[in-house]
Amino acid sequence: MTTAPLQTDLRTQAENALADLFVAMPLVTGSVLASTDGHVIAADLDEKRQKPTAAMVASAFALGGRLAELNGSDGADELTVRSAKGFVLILAVGTGAALVILAQSGVNLGLLNLKARQLVQTLSELLSVQEVPGV
């Protein structure tokens, strides 16, 4: 298996950071840090949803990057899916990973966006300590 190339202590730190968001924002229901090729790097989500979520994030993020080219950009920084039940936010973390945050409708989007950006900063620092091999 090729999941979780992060060292265990770094994975733990990343998952602590994800859990902090979960605690700070009650309407956040889960989050996954995925490599851009669809593997789980760290997750705060029930076990059986982690892998399919990481793969879907990689596909959506890559297609989002192609859409961004319509505007002349090189890739996507962020994708938002708004639906009847809530939000799915996908944010680039460095060049080789993306963070997905699941939140229920009613969540304070302004605050979530602020906290999500802080989380991205924390996670990209963790990843740059030990860059994911091959990424």
Partner: protein, 193 residues
């Protein structure tokens, strides 16, 4: 004016079978693709992998009609199988790739054939990459990857002429099937020339 047909062809096959290479070699223009850098064990095989889909077109003209083949490549890994279901909607033909040099991946080719076969019963061509001069390998694949009604060919994905001929084989298969089953003709859109 000759009738014009628009067909959707899905190119499937296991990780690193050569799907992207084949579409890039055969399409008329540049591809819309979704390559991402590989990590872990896959990084030892190649540097990037398709994580979403890719799209390219190939125009085909004959004396009596013109055709545009819309080529859709999918990811090979099981973790992306949801993309097979998304991209498979409305396909008119399936091109299934098998890597002659990696028999350990043949079972995965068979699994993908079954997955797409369950989505729709379109004509299938099984293309055995790196087997243009090895008919005996094509025969082995015929037994190891049995797809009902499929045609089997050996070719090289990297060679544009070869890749296009392989797709033409599928197009012929599709057109013959349309003639056999007039009902299928209703699903074909005839565009105004």
């Amino acid at each position: 004016m000759n009738p014009h047909f628009d067909f959707k062809i899905v190119v499937a096959g296991p990780f690193a079978a050569g799907k992207t290479t084949m579409i890039a070699a055969s399409a008329d223009g540049p591809l819309v693709g979704t390559e991402a850098p590989t990590s872990g064990g896959e990084a030892a095989v190649k540097a990037t992998t398709t994580v979403g889909m890719e799209y390219g077109t190939l125009a085909v003209a004959s004396d009596s009609f013109s055709v545009e083949l819309n080529l859709y490549g999918v990811p090979g890994q099981e973790r992306f199988s949801f993309m097979w279901d998304i991209v498979g909607v409305g396909m008119d033909g399936l091109f299934l790739l098998v890597d002659a040099d990696r028999p350990e991946t043949w079972a995965t080719s068979a699994t993908m054939a079954a997955h797409f076969g369950a989505l729709s019963s379109t004509p299938v061509v099984v293309g055995v990459n790196r087997a243009s001069t090895r008919p005996e390998v094509v025969e082995q694949v015929r037994h190891a990857v049995p797809v009902p009604g499929a045609r089997y060919i050996g070719f090289e994905v990297i060679d544009p002429q070869d890749a296009r001929n392989a797709l033409l084989e599928l197009l012929l298969h599709m057109l013959e099937q349309m003639n056999d089953e007039p009902a299928a003709q209703t699903s074909v859109q005839v565009a105004t020339p």
